[in-house]
Symmetry: C2
Subunit: 425 residues, 2 copies
């Protein structure tokens, strides 16, 4: 064992006390904020039946599954054994598949609509890179059982309010609808089975522009009209076009669009408009080019970013067909996932006060603990430390760690409190 | 997928909102209480290097490890492949082995002594049974870097205070010392390599009595003097013997006992005596028959029970040699583990208030959310529900769920609050 590396496994992290305190503060703030909107925490186990995690809901994430070795295997395996046959459980790679199972398992004991908040670890065998971890925390909020865009509006309001309450501002929300994108694909002549591939290219618009998309679609074998028509519909808008303008443009360009899509966009943007009056710095727009990766979205989709920071910090959408795979009938569903690890970095939360450092010598434990108890009775958190030779240096270190007062255990005097301050060098 | 069982994997649990709320309340209360004693939460990953988890620290638990299938295996395995060669990571089965690695990895950034609080899931492939789970939460408190029994006294005071603050009373603490047990073994003529086997039998005293132990030791091949001498030393005390009486009896019976053992017992019992004056119902005694399972204990060991409930709810002890296996030099350590799942059942914590149920019809989302926002601005948590045909039955169900007020969204009237009460049938 002597030579064993003492670091955590590759791609995972140890969290020091100050880091746990920060993460727990953010979790408490998120939970309290969402509780005001009726979202309640649920929990599912870390692992699920492998069969459930590999049924196609997880997209690319299914390739990153950590499988658990089955127990009771023979000491020597037969020739040609497939590693796939050695597992029946695996660590969850997201919180959506477990949520679907949870809902199917517990529906009769849950209200309708049911508002779920999940905060917990997921595992993916990612190639380790800066800011990318093999165990990380996800924070998902879902409304199950509400078919109208009231669910989308609630999710957005609750999430934007929560992020604002964490001091993350100014926030920008971009809104789109998978039904719109499907209509654009159809109007552009994309065959139904090629829609996903078309979406993947479309998703790159802000990186490669229409010229790049045109080239990529051509390379994939799409007819030239596909890019041309798509650009006409999606690109035929000024960058700063307001919701009403976008909606009217879409009504003209996509006459065969199902009726509720534009009405829904109208409802959602009206809610966002009201919210912009309450949350300072909030901006929003319909952005016809956001696609979002997962295959299961069926309606509105959205992304939230901190303006200027570039990357998305939350995103989600409606997925009305996923739960039906576990239940006998469909259950409308809409969810939003907060990038927890990013939010922890951005959130303005206070470091906890560590209270009093009580320094002792070789007094009897009873005497030391009596002095500590007296300080605790006065409302202080108290940590004991043996007094070192250089008191000045020790007090500096304690201040650095976060203690703001100290006391000494001395015969006869039970811990007179003195403020800690950074010492002059 | 249609026929897939929607339950969680065998031996694991889904937690409903009321259950998560209860568990989180207990976690918050435990964290806050231990924080008053300077214990700070740390976190390690769910999995560790397999090699580290199978190095013998885990005793019987090592047989219950969930191993993770290595990635990048060939599609077909060679004949005779051992399943053991297919893993290099495994889920942790306790929090002590990860703590040792954590401390070795981060020592320079931690205070000394370092007081760690860990609350998190562990996994064991147990045979499922009532109250026994394959994923369950452990709660461990450890003092690292303090060699005197001040650490033991602190752990006991902090833990007894924490359990009391959760309304778990009256509490009983039983105290013993592995050094004492080793001295009894030596005085009884047990060879050093047979000590563990001797301890395993001794641990059964309250179940099988001296007669049973005598028979069991004989069956194991111990000489008859072993049981006789052990009974003379350990059984030569009245059931109600106080600490002073026990200590004096031991001084007589074990003249070769190393000097600090009895002095340490004196210090610890003095602290417990003081604590008994503060925590109502607390009782304690030296109990020479508690052994505790793990092999790594080196000094005092202790168990806490709720009087009358029979089973232990917390236990721990000193393990001065474990950390030295990861570091170049020994680090004294002392820890206590609370049976979290049992404490969740016993703790007196309030169910959270769910706030206001706001019932709506088919109004525009903007109108509904405006009414909700106005109630939230007044400080209420608000959950939206579509109004059902039978309002009476709906209000009953909402009361049952935990809502205590309701309001209706009506044109012109924005949510007048009315108290919810159980309806007469």
């Amino acid at each position: 064992m002597a030579k064993l590396d003492n670091g955590p496994p590759r791609g995972t992290r140890d969290f020091l006390p100050s880091e746990v305190a920060r993460r727990e503060s953010v979790i408490a703030a998120i939970s309290a904020s969402y509780a005001r909107f009726g979202f309640r925490r649920i929990e599912t186990p870390a692992f699920e039946a492998l069969e459930r995690l590999t049924s196609g809901q997880g997209g690319e994430n299914e390739k990153l599954i950590y499988k658990i070795l089955r127990r009771g295997l023979p000491v020597r395996l037969d020739a040609g054994t497939s590693p796939d046959s050695l597992s029946d459980l695996a660590l969850r790679y997201d919180l959506t598949v477990p949520l679907s199972r949870f809902y199917a398992n517990n529906e009769s004991r849950l209200g309708r609509p049911f508002r779920a908040l999940q905060i917990g670890p997921v595992w993916r065998a990612e190639r380790p890179a800066k800011g990318r971890y093999r165990q990380f925390t996800q924070c998902d909020i879902d409304v199950l059982g509400e078919s109208s865009v009231l669910a989308e509006c609630e999710l957005m309001e609750a999430s934007l309010s929560t992020l604002s309450s964490l001091g993350i501002a100014p926030l920008t929300l971009r809104l789109n609808d998978r039904r719109l994108l499907a209509a654009v694909a159809e109007a552009s002549g994309v065959a139904e089975q090629a829609t996903s591939s078309y979406f993947v290219s479309l998703d790159k618009l802000d990186k490669i522009g229409w010229e790049g998309i045109s080239a990529e679609l051509a390379a994939k074998g799409f007819a030239p009209e596909v890019a041309r028509t798509s650009e006409k519909i999606l690109g035929g808008l000024q960058a700063g076009a307001g919701p009403a303008e976008v909606i009217s443009h879409l009504a003209d360009s996509l006459p065969r669009l199902e009726e509720p899509v534009l009405a829904d966009l109208g409802e959602t943007t009206a809610c966002l408009e009201r919210l912009a009056g309450r949350l300072s710095g909030l901006s929003y727009r319909i952005d016809l080019t956001i696609v979002r990766g997962m295959g299961y979205y069926t309606g509105q989709i959205f992304e939230i970013a901190q303006a200027g920071a570039g990357h998305s910090i939350a995103g989600g959408g409606r997925y009305d067909e996923l739960l039906g795979r576990f239940l006998e009938r469909p259950v409308p569903a809409c969810g939003l996932s907060i990038g927890f690890e990013r939010v922890v970095d951005l959130a303005a939360v206070d470091s906890p006060e560590l209270g009093v450092a009580l320094l002792h010598g070789r007094e009897a434990p009873g005497l030391i603990l009596q002095a500590a108890a007296e300080l605790r009775d006065k409302g202080h958190a108290v940590s004991l430390f043996p007094r070192r030779k250089s008191l000045g240096r020790q007090l500096d270190a304690l201040f650095e760690e976060g203690y703001r007062a100290f006391a000494l255990v001395e015969e006869g005097s039970h811990g007179e409190l003195r403020p800690l301050a950074p010492q002059a060098d």
